[in-house]
Every structure is written in C-alpha cells, then in structure tokens.
Symmetry: C3
C-alpha cells in the first residue's frame, strides 16, 4: 500500500480536495492518504514550506508528498519531482522547493508527462496526482521527466544580524496563538553566549529561554524554541498573539552582550 | 477493502462525525473512509449537492457515498439508496438526490431496514451507516428495500434567460473567495456568440472569459469557467467575494449581442 | 491492520498533527488513523473528555485512543495507559481520564518508557505515539509500565439539585449551535415525574421534552435529549446559541412539581 501526503492551500470545505483524493484512490487503490495541512494561506509558498519542512521528516522514507500551494498552470507552467532525503516531493516550480530543501535534492526532474488539460486551473489533479501515484506504486523519477539542474529560487526572510543584535520577524502563528519567528536555535546559539533581552512591541521584554511552557505562571509570557526549533513567544496557557498584539511580519529583536 | 465517502453538515469539531466513522469501521473493518466535505452549511441540501456533484465522479466506480445533509428522522422519514453512474449513493429523501442526478438513477430503492431508533436524531448513524457497509462489502441494493419510481423533487435555482441577457445568482463562495454562479459553460455557449458584458454590483463589468487566473495582473478581476464548469468571478491572487462585495444569492447579469 | 484514534487540542492547520500521524505510520505501517476531534479548545480537558466519551463507544473493541489535550511535560510529568471497557486509552495524567471513565478502568499503568526528550514540548509525539503503536501492534499494557491505583482526579461540573429544581450549566455548543447542558436524561428522569418548566436567560421557558428537532415549527425553540443523552436547547433549523444568547457556562434551570 503506497502512501501519499497532501499539503495545499485548497482548504477543507470545497470539493477540490475530495476530487484530488478520489483521483488518487481511482489511480492507485488502497493508497493511504494523509493530510499535512490544507490551511496554508492562499498562494503563500513560504507558509506552505514552513509547515511541510517540519512535518515530512516524521513520515516513512519513500513517502510521496504532493505540494499544491499556489499551484496553477498560468503562474507555474513547470512542475518538478524530487528525491530529497529519501522522500519524493512533487509540486509546481514556483520556488517552494528552494524554501523547503536545505541542500540540493538527490535528484530533480522536470515533469514531462503528456498533460491532459481537462481542468486548466487544476494542475494539482491533472499533473501531480498521476505522477504521485506512479511513484507511490514504485515507479521511478526517470519516467516522469528529464534531469534538471535548476529551479526557481526564492529567498526565505532571514533575520538581520548586527553588532549585539538579531532582528527577526514573525513568520507563523499557530492554533495556540504561539508566535513563531524566523530566528532559529542555531542563529541564537552561534551568537549569544551571555546576557540577552528579547524585545517586541509594547515595550515587552523577555530575558530567558524556557524549556517548557509551564516554567512560568499561567498567563505569563515566555520564550522558547518550539518543535520547529524556531524562537517562539508564548504565554503559558494563554494566547500570545492576541494578548501581546503580535502579528505576522512583526519584528522581534534580541539585544545581547557580545562576549569576546 | 471497501470505500465509503462522507458528505455532511456535521462539521469537524463535534463527536458526531467520529461516531459515524467508528461505526463504519466497527461494522466493516478496514474500510477506507474519505471525507468529501462536512462544512456544508447546516441543512443546506443545494450546497451539499453542488459539492458532491463535483467531487464524486473522481472516485472509483462502485464507491459508496453517504449524504448526510439535513438528515434526521423528523423531517425526512424516508431514506433512499441509489445506483447512479456506477456509484452507490445513500441519504434521506429530502430532495438532495434530485439536485445531484442529471438523469434518473439506474436503480432506486427506499430503505426498508429494521431501524434501530437508538438515536432518534441520528439517522445518519442508525440507518445510513449499516446500509453503506452492506453495499461496501459487496451487498446489493435489493436487500436494502423495494424499488421506487419517485423521490422528493427540488428545483435548482436556474439562471433567468431573456432577450440578450442571462441573469444568474451566486451559489457558492470557495475558500479562495472565488465567486461561483449558477451560470454554466453550457448556458453561456449555447446563447453567447458575440460580444458580451458581465455586470455585477458596484457597477463592475467584465467582458472577457479567461482561461487562467493568471491572465490578468495580480489584484485584477476576471471571469472564467472554474473546475465545476460554472461561471466564476475571481481576482488573480485576491479575494473576490470580500473585495467586490459579492455574497451568496447576489445577482450576476450577462448582457450579450444577439447574433442572428 | 491496527487502528488508532486521535483526540487533541492541536487543531488542523499546523504541522503538529501531521508529525503525529507521520510518526504513527513510520512506527506501525498501515495503521488506520481516525480523527475524533482536534478542535478541543486549548487545554480544555473537560471538553476533550465530553467529546471523547461520546465518540469512543462507536469504535471497535481494542481500538487504541490517544488523548492529547493539555499534553506537555511541564504540566503533566506522568502519562497513563488504560484498558477501559475493552478499549485502550493513552494520555497525560492531568485528570482527563477521571472525567471520561464512569468506573475505574480494568487496568491502569503509569507509562515507564525510556523517554527520548527530543521535543520537550511534544510528549504526544515522543511518549504517546510509541506506546499507542505498541498496543495497536498487539503489545500489552504490562510492557508499558507498572500498575497504578490512583490518578489525578478532576470533578465534572454537576448540576445542582434542590427541592423542586435542577440547576444545570451549558457545557458544549455544537456546530449547529445546539446548546448542550450537563443535565442528563438520568438526572431528569430520576426526579421529574410531573409538570416542569425549563428556564433560561431572557425569560425563555420550555415545558416539554421533544423527541425530534422537527416536532416544532422551523425557527421555534425546543428541548430534547441529544445524541449524548444530555439535555439540549435547540431551535428547529436554527442556531440556538446565537439566537437565544446562550453561551458556555450559562445557567439552565428546570423547576418541577414534586410528586409525592
């Protein structure tokens, strides 16, 4: 039984996602289909990449992953299939893969299937599903197209590093309203050896990294490295985004003592 | 392994849907269950029919589909099982099937199972799940009840056709806020051979049918036939419903040049 | 093929739930995973217990159920595994099991696995998933830890009973906006033999228990025992919570004639 995961901006209420799943089980009966998320903000490849990057390593090797974020013919006339860290990834060549992959994939092909343009706006169904079923059934990437050395490159918004400061940005707010920044544990640990102060709007400051949400009293703010290994501003048993007024794209700055 | 799909107004947060799925796997272990949508607006059979009609053809033949929209004993004392285009459909006799099926089904039976009224408000579980499992296990419609020649008939809201105009209605707004009307490609192509103008609120007009969302600049409005083959008003990478103020049941009129 | 259900406050949009599912299928391929609900309000074990209690009896015996509500190391350093009514239940020792189980479980062990603290905030993944896969694969509770005679005890909010009255509380509002109270059919039938009046805010009263939503005209309020066997205030084809102004934790009082 093959396994296919789906990550998209299709949402859950419409018939589009069901059409995709129906096509998969028609083409490859008994496939196990697992949703990663379909609540990616429409067309937001950075958000789709963030969610996918943190989810896919938990799946078995050789799982086939369809990435259907900002996926239509008009914007992205090309579709790619990748072998990356022993997983298969399929999606439009719109830059999402450059945001997901830390190194160039083991193999990258440009999909060269005879495209039935039955649904001109639904490449996810017309192009990606047949390729995913082919791979999930044990087929090879070579059958899908020719090797490729390049893809569309998008840059992740990186934190700005300066003398004694790291200035990051809010990149995601989760269901608990934890506020996730683009500052990773690696950024932090490479630079910060002594005292520091995390500053964000309304003159709020935190000068400690917690290990658990429960380390501070209920209702108190804290900062920790979340499951994604990104720096997170949270409130123990509370909703940090709403209560602290922190929104997507807001700035978080860490000022630190430089140790020579 | 049998396959059963579910379309309902049950939503995702309560325990009702889980009770349905648990009952299915208790009665027929290893059934593959696929959700079509459970976000149908409560009791809205027209919306349920629209979503289902566009999703089910993508599933394998002989799939069993449960339709649990506006489904309770009090309103719909009868339940139907259908063979339609080589799929099995099960649901209350509340008019939803007349909105789904373009022709009368191959076979239609009134469900005549000994109904355990354990949950007087949960016919979906008590009546439809056992019948669905029976069919998914290879059982026949004849076992479920007697042939029937009629059902409750509901009329879809059709566009009004007049000399030089088609006046349609917004019937669905999808997750991208694309605005879907009840004007189909067939309605359009049968009548419109020359110039036309699509008009809707705030004096907005469009006089072209696009093939792709990306044919116009980002943020611009456009019109196209969507995956459902219905005329859709959209904004490239934008939210048409909110930005254009188009809501459910609003009017869209196409004025066209009559070619003799 | 094993079966595992998931009940949590993780929500659907983040990558956390996908990480859990990926871990399950990595550790026990071909497991059937069924979501009970992930829309439990964050940290709300009473709501999680209510939803789970009503859903799990519909699943096959020996199903493994993971309860991931308010589940992190810091607050709940202990994790339990139970055999209860021939189902397996796994979750943090935070009181949720005392709210679910009507009698003490057949067997209760404190989980004693070597905990990899890879994700200090994600015990659901690190601790509960491996134990669930062990049980779903046919393993025993004895392997997971030592027998235990106690757990953290939480009290459900019970209705107040007085001479001629039962005073209950709104404990859940479902997707249809039916208003569910903590007054059960048992509470009602044990005490009320004659006339009664259900009273709630804005001087609304109901003095009849309906069997079906459709027993009153559309738009009219009614009261019935819902699928959970709890007293429910509803509006036929309408949204009782919004229209009647009934919210979580509001009071519903039944005044009744005492029959001697």
């Amino acid at each position: 039984m093959g396994m296919i995961t789906l990550t998209s901006d299709l949402g859950y209420k419409d018939f589009y996602l069901a059409a995709v799943k129906g096509s998969i089980v028609t083409q490859l009966p008994n496939t196990q289909i697992i949703d990663i998320s379909h609540s990616v903000a429409p067309f937001n490849i950075a958000q789709g990449a963030f969610l996918f990057r943190n989810a896919f390593p938990h799946f078995p090797r050789r799982t086939v992953h369809i990435l259907g974020v900002n996926c239509d013919y008009s914007n992205n006339p090309e579709f790619l299939a990748l072998a990356y860290r022993e997983h298969y990834l399929l999606g439009p060549d719109n830059g999402i893969f450059s945001l997901i992959c830390e190194e160039f994939p083991e193999k990258l092909v440009k999909i060269n299937l005879n495209r039935e343009t039955k649904f001109p706006h639904f490449a996810l169904l017309d192009v990606l599903v047949p390729c995913a079923c082919h791979l999930a059934a044990g087929g090879t990437l070579n059958t899908l197209g020719d090797d490729q050395k390049t893809w569309i490159q998008k840059m992740d918004l990186k934190p700005v590093m300066g003398p004694g400061f790291i200035r990051g940005t809010v990149i995601y707010i989760d269901e608990y309203q934890n506020v996730i920044t683009n500052i990773t544990r690696k950024h932090f640990e490479e630079r910060i050896k002594g005292r520091f102060e995390i500053r964000f709007k309304r003159n709020e400051t935190i000068n400690k990294i917690s290990y658990h949400y429960g380390e501070v009293p209920e209702g108190e703010k804290l900062s920790l490295f979340g499951i994604s290994e990104h720096l997170e501003i949270a409130i123990n048993k509370g909703k940090a985004s709403g209560l602290l007024g922190l929104r997507m794209d807001d700035t978080i700055q860490i000022d630190y003592e430089e140790v020579s």
